[in-house]
């Protein structure tokens, strides 16, 4: 400590000495046992005492001895060890304050340590992994079940879902997302156009760029890119909001007030996303077409040609497959975000984990769902 440094400008190196005086062993401490000194370890004492089969040790100090916590932290494990070995450690010669602290420290017996985590590749770890997977599947199914019950209650008008919350979340997920969705969609449209142009130019068929961008955006990219952006933007926000509420015991408070957190918190978020996503998807399609148009104009295709060609390329079934996908994606993002939030742990680190989990699971869900839907559509010939 600063005071020590000022006062004891002449530091005396901390030392100890184990003297074997029959019938007792004496342990003499001297010097400055202070935190900024290099204090010797007392481990050697343990081995010496063991080899000498000592039964009692008396601690003594000399005039130069001063101490702070670093001395206590050395003495404390020695004291514990002596207790275990039934060796009597007489500390009465220590300054009374040090003695007092040592008594406080040893007043409560150490509780058993936590088990070490098993190593990464081990049978125990595998079984833990399987158990965890089972637990998570159960949690997922339970969550889906709770949502289904809540929706049926909502349809019967019995749910504690507030309209004002719904409107707020529509505002959050919809209008407030227009900018970022617009920007990404224009760029995706341009990327599609550039990708196609290289190939189509070989055939002299640049005009079909309009068809490529239209089908690409309508069937696939519009819905998927909107969903990815919304998973990062809104899904993560849902997980963070609900996780924080879990940490603050707000969700417990709702439950004990007799209000289902699923109805009160999850349904408005989910319904808002379901309402907003198809609209955002349509908007994204338009912006994507615009992006394709910008690229084509740089490639000797007039804007009118592009528009005419696009009009011919748009097919109702493409638009509706995209919209249907966006509905499915909305449900998945809301489920991933809200489940991660509701089932989050109760501290700040857990909220962070829940947010990450929400985004990662949402994106995995999205890609799996997209693949499955595409297979179904192609089988059905849509």
């Amino acid at each position: 400590m600063v005071q020590h440094e000022q006062m004891y400008s002449q530091a005396i190196a901390p030392t100890f000495l184990l003297q074997n005086k029959k019938p007792q062993t004496q342990l003499v401490f001297s010097g400055h046992w202070l935190i900024h000194q290099t204090c010797p370890s007392l481990d050697s004492i343990v081995s010496q005492l063991q080899s000498q089969k000592t039964l009692a040790v008396t601690i003594a100090i000399d005039d130069s001895f001063i101490w702070d916590s670093i001395f206590m932290s050395r003495l404390y494990p020695l004291q514990l060890w002596c207790q275990q070995q039934n060796i009597e450690l007489d500390c009465s010669a220590l300054p009374s304050s040090a003695n007092q602290l040592l008594q406080v420290a040893t007043a409560v017996a150490p509780s058993p340590k936590k088990h070490d985590e098993p190593s990464y590749f081990s049978a125990i770890n595998l079984s833990h992994g399987l158990k965890r997977a089972r637990k998570e599947t159960e949690a997922f199914i339970r969550f889906i079940g709770e949502i289904s019950i809540s929706i049926s209650r909502l349809c019967r008008g019995q749910a504690n879902t507030r309209g004002i919350d719904f409107i707020y979340f529509v505002q959050q997920a919809g209008p407030n997302a227009i900018g970022i969705i617009g920007l990404t969609s224009v760029l995706i449209g341009m990327i599609l156009a550039y990708l196609g142009l290289v190939q189509l130019r070989l055939l002299g068929a640049e005009i079909y760029i309009a068809n490529l961008v239209t089908i690409g955006m309508m069937r696939e990219m519009g819905a998927l890119m909107t969903a990815v952006v919304m998973a990062g933007r809104t899904g993560a926000a849902y997980a963070a909001q609900l996780g924080t509420m879990q940490a603050n015991e707000e969700i417990d408070a709702l439950t004990t007030l007799g209000i289902s957190p699923i109805e009160f918190l999850v349904l408005p978020r989910m319904l808002a996303l379901i309402c907003v996503m198809p609209l955002l998807c349509l908007f994204s399609n338009m912006m994507g077409l615009l992006g394709g148009g910008l690229v084509s104009m740089g490639m000797d295709i007039t804007f009118n040609q592009y528009i005419t060609q696009t009009q011919e390329a748009v097919v109702a079934s493409d638009v509706f497959t995209g919209l249907f996908k966006s509905l499915v994606f909305a449900v998945l993002i809301a489920i991933a975000g809200c489940q991660a939030g509701i089932q989050s742990g109760r501290n700040s680190a857990a909220v962070g984990k829940a947010t990450t989990k929400a985004v990662v699971t949402a994106i995995v869900y999205l890609i799996i769902a997209d693949a499955v839907l595409n297979i179904i559509f192609s089988r059905l010939g849509i």
Binding site: H4, S73, Y76, A98, S111, K113, K114
Partner: protein
């Protein structure tokens, strides 16, 4: 009380903490004004008063988190806000602070929490740090809980772990913000005993914000009473004297629980 028994050097006669004509405000809204009091070395000093009177705000001014609107706080004769950056760090190193909600870092184990100030301010090696954290946890009755996360232990244990982190560097001054809030009477009494023990053995000056009457009388030897309405201090002295002899009825009623 043998505070300066052997490790602590004798200081000059000036008080450890001096509060001079302090006014605290959030923007233009004055919380407390014209505060004048001293905290002596080795005192267990209680800051008391009704809810919302600015007790915690005063504590946050003392530990340099908030800047006074007027007046000054001198610790060892030095004003925190007029000190240079290096001096401020040196001052902070001598303070230990426990927070209302314990403020343990939730992503770290108890041992890692307590190791943080040691890693920050000392050059100890890993083994020394481990020994010190074990000892500090043992002091607060948590030996063996090194590898637990704060969320895995009870609220009372979190409070004590917070105290272990605060005393990691053997501070000169320990600040407590509502140490017994949310604790059962027995745990709160244990904590009081621990505080007394620390003061008696290390001579630490202790400043406690609380309205827990049992604690106030059990351990406090000096106090100020802050009033919400007049926005200033109504009483200053040993709470055991104030309960009968304060000239303010409000203070007597507070200390007698309204009776």
């Amino acid at each position: 009380m043998t505070s300066a028994e052997k490790t602590l050097p004798q200081q000059s006669s000036q008080a450890h903490i001096q509060v001079r004509n302090l006014t605290m405000a959030y923007g233009s809204q004055v919380v407390q004004k014209e505060l004048n009091f001293d905290v002596n070395r080795g005192d267990i000093f209680i800051i008391m008063g009704g809810s919302g009177c600015g007790k915690s705000t005063l504590l946050k001014h003392m530990i340099g988190l908030y800047q006074p609107a007027q007046g000054e706080i001198l610790i060892d004769g030095e004003n925190f806000f007029q000190s240079g950056a290096a001096q401020q760090i040196a001052m902070r190193r001598r303070w230990g602070i426990t927070y209302q909600k314990s403020a343990l870092f939730s992503a770290m184990t108890l041992a890692e929490n307590i190791a943080i100030p040691l890693e920050q301010y000392t050059t100890l090696n890993d083994k020394d740090i481990r020994e010190l954290t074990h000892y500090k946890l043992a002091l607060v009755g948590l030996a063996g809980f090194e590898d637990f996360y704060p969320s895995e232990i009870s609220g009372g244990m979190q409070k004590r772990a917070g105290l272990a982190r605060a005393i990691a560097l053997d501070p000169d001054i320990l600040f407590f913000d509502e140490p017994s809030a949310g604790l059962d009477p027995l745990s709160s009494q244990l904590l009081d005993e621990l505080i007394l023990e620390l003061r008696n053995s290390l001579g630490t000056t202790i400043v406690i914000v609380t309205h827990e009457l049992a604690s106030i009388f059990a351990i406090g030897n000096n106090s100020v009473f802050l009033d919400t309405e007049k926005k200033t201090m109504l009483a200053y002295g040993n709470p055991r004297d104030l309960i009968e002899h304060s000239n303010q009825e409000k203070v007597r009623r507070f200390l007698k629980r309204g009776r």
